[in-house]
């Protein structure tokens, strides 16, 4: 999935989300101003700053995110690509991460939303999930409302990667292990915990949110990610990302999961979406924060997780 150069200017196109929205396949792609450089294998050719580098313009180290809304036809070819116009609600940024990051698409109560993290409203980069309603017209995609959701823990520095639950309006899986489900209280503009699992599964890295949470027969399914963050012998940071599917029963017990995996053997990748179309599962993913793809998986493969 490619946003043309004229719109995205050749920099990273990453962390795609997807939503089957009526008869449409809608996608959101995050465009950033950097190029991620990640040396793999023996790391013979690290960048001048180390093996994992966000290469910004040398006179602009802000991390700006622009979102592009795309619709695909049944062969997954793009039939429209529009920048999401946020100008009506934008205010001057106070921190260097600017824009709505890692937005997941969701339709709740007939309204189409993008929900991601924003970190530009305070001078120290406090991140909170936001729920932005977007209106798609023939020639434009506009953000028409924006709700900043206070965390269940107001002291937390950055809340991100909450996974919207497609069949439970305004509910998110905030955390996966132990599973915590929250609901948006619109009056208080805050999240309220509605479920917390009593026990965490042991022996795993932290499960962090990736896709939306989808109904899956009598279960729910989502893609989550895990990260190994480490430093090399020069103290330069590096990271490996892993992904896995989690399956919950109707009581939010994790009843199945896949082994961890990566996309095309990459070490850095990310996904913000999952969709089911007939007998197929569609999983978009970003490769090294630089490019985005759509993976099609037979649904039966994941059904085997539950029944196999």
């Amino acid at each position: 999935m490619i946003v043309p150069h004229e719109m995205a200017h050749g920099t990273g196109q990453m962390n795609p989300s997807i939503l089957v929205d009526g008869d449409k396949i809608a996608v959101n792609i995050r465009n950033v101003g950097y190029v991620l450089v990640h040396s793999e294998n023996e790391q013979r050719f690290p960048s001048r700053w180390g093996p994992l580098t966000y290469t910004h313009p040398e006179n602009d180290h802000t991390l700006r995110t622009f979102n592009f809304y795309m619709e695909l036809d049944s062969n997954y070819n793009p039939i429209r690509i529009d920048p999401v116009d946020t100008s009506k609600l934008d205010v001057p940024p106070l921190w260097e991460f600017i824009g709505l990051e890692d937005a997941r698409l969701v339709r709740w109560d007939g309204r189409l939303y993008m929900s991601g993290v924003r970190r530009d409203t305070t001078t120290n980069g406090v991140g909170r999930m936001e729920l932005s309603e977007i209106i798609v017209t023939d020639d434009k995609v506009r953000e028409v409302s924006r709700l900043r959701i206070e965390s269940t823990n107001p002291q937390s520095y950055c809340e991100k990667n909450w996974m919207p639950i497609l069949d439970m309006p305004y509910h998110y899986v905030k955390w996966s292990n132990p599973t915590e489900v929250v609901k948006v209280d619109f009056e208080k503009k805050a999240a309220v915990t509605v479920f917390t699992a009593q026990k965490a599964l042991s022996g795993f890295r932290d499960f962090r949110g990736s896709s939306q949470v989808l109904p899956f027969g009598n279960h729910r399914i989502a893609l989550v990610h895990e990260v190994d963050l480490f430093n090399n012998e020069l103290g330069q940071k590096d990271a490996y990302y892993y992904h896995r599917f989690l399956v919950w029963d109707k009581d939010w017990n994790i009843v199945a999961m896949t082994d961890d995996f990566n996309f095309m053997t990459e070490r850095v990748g990310f996904s913000c979406g999952l969709a089911i179309v007939n007998d197929k599962i569609l999983m978009p993913f970003g490769h090294q924060d630089n490019s985005s793809y759509l993976l099609e998986i037979p649904k039966i493969v994941l059904e085997g997780l539950i029944h196999g």
Partner: protein, 412 residues
């Protein structure tokens, strides 16, 4: 792209496939994605077997960052990796030289051009074009940088000899021409006539004994008078008059021999000085845009004009003007045509002008006129029906050699 991706996803550590995918993204100007795959190519390739592929991938990384702009520290880093991998290949040095040129780090720009020029001849070409056409691109960089570090003669020498030493692409012909035009030919050499040279003069025309000194750069005014046997009250068309006195071909004609005529120049200052200080007229116009038929009719020029001077720059411009003169209506007894062969990076316009003037019935009297023994810059022509054949015979000197104007004019 779709087929390539399918193939890639089945073998994502294949360095060749990574390279191909990167190139496909680069073609789409999706440079971030291209960088991902060029680097994967470099990291997963087998070394030393695949070193040229890796070298090329690193160069392409640098090019991608260049295209993205404002990431020069990264751009340089990938090139330094490439140099470290294969220090005997020239392309990385050339790209480094280009980078330092943009940064106006002229010493570095020069140094890497020189290092690149000392690389052995390439026996294996890269898979994809990065703009490195041949070793002349390094010569070009060296010439550019030489200028800015103050090596003016070296810079000029490289630029002026490049067209003869290399088979340049059209792009580099233009670049070399542009640079020659920008830096000029340096301090002008002059060969002035003065009375002390009278005895040696090739053809002593009536009135020469009264000439104290002339004004042309290399005897053009004296040539015109010689060919026309010291004609008085003649008429000229001077295209590219420049300064009205210094290195001017018509001032002697006007002042000492009573000629009339019209001069044209694009430089407003020169035209203003000319108009204030000389009796004959000078107009400020772009000589390439004039309808000469209408222009000459408008000023009442005679059908037989005694002297046509054509001296504009660059050579393509002078030639263009030549072909716009209405030779079917006007005849010119003497023509001095500045083809500037020695600074014509295309080396085309001398031959084109010769073919053209011959086809118009003109006869070449002396070719490859130069202020020295090496800088062929003008040809001098006559219309055989308008000059004395005896004079023509005595002045004739056409062969392959470059003629120092003074030696030619004092050859009698």
């Amino acid at each position: 792209m779709d087929d390539l991706l399918l193939e890639y996803s089945a073998d994502p550590k294949n360095s060749e496939l990574n390279f191909e995918l990167a190139v496909a993204y680069k073609d789409l100007k999706h440079y971030a994605a291209a960088c991902s795959y060029f680097l994967r190519c470099a990291e997963w390739a087998q070394l030393p077997e695949d070193r040229i592929l890796v070298y090329e991938a690193l160069l392409q990384m640098s090019v991608c960052f260049r295209e993205l702009g404002n990431r020069e520290w990264s751009e340089e880093g990938w090139l330094l990796h490439a140099v470290s991998l294969i220090p005997e290949r020239p392309e990385a040095y050339w790209l480094l030289s280009l980078l330092y040129e943009r940064q106006r780090k002229w010493q570095e720009c020069y140094m890497f051009a020189v290092i690149g020029l000392n690389c052995p001849k390439i026996t294996y070409h890269l898979k994809n074009d990065i703009g490195y056409e041949s070793s002349y691109v390094l010569e070009f960089q060296k010439a550019v940088a030489a200028w800015w570090i103050g090596r003016f003669s070296e810079s000029r020498m490289i630029f002026m000899t490049m067209p003869d030493r290399f088979r340049l692409s059209e792009r580099y012909v233009q670049l070399v021409q542009h640079n020659i035009s920008s830096i000029g030919v340096g301090p002008c050499e002059f060969d002035y006539y003065d009375r002390s040279k009278l005895q040696k003069f090739r053809f002593k025309f009536p009135g020469i004994e009264n000439i104290e000194s002339n004004y042309s750069q290399v005897y053009q005014d004296m040539f015109v008078l010689a060919m026309l046997d010291g004609k008085r009250n003649g008429y000229y068309l001077e295209i590219g008059s420049s300064d009205p006195f210094h290195v001017n071909n018509t001032w002697l004609l006007e002042k000492e021999f009573g000629w009339k005529g019209i001069s044209i120049d694009i430089n407003e200052h020169d035209v203003e000085v000319f108009s204030k200080s000389r009796k004959n007229a000078c107009v400020c116009r772009d000589a390439t845009t004039i309808n000469y038929s209408r222009f000459l009719t408008g000023i009442g020029a005679p059908a037989d004009i005694d002297y046509l001077q054509l001296d504009c720059e660059p050579p393509a411009t002078t030639y263009k003007i030549l072909t716009s003169i209405p030779f079917e209506i006007y005849r010119f007894a003497v023509i001095t045509f500045e083809h500037d062969y020695y600074v014509d990076a295309s080396r085309r316009y001398r031959d084109l002008s010769r073919k053209f003037l011959k086809s118009m019935g003109y006869e070449l009297v002396v070719n490859n006129v130069s202020p020295d023994d090496k800088s062929s810059f003008e040809d001098w022509w006559v219309h055989p029906a308008l000059v004395d054949s005896k004079i023509l015979k005595s002045m004739y000197n056409v062969d392959d050699k470059v003629k120092c104007a003074e030696k030619y004019m004092l050859g009698g």
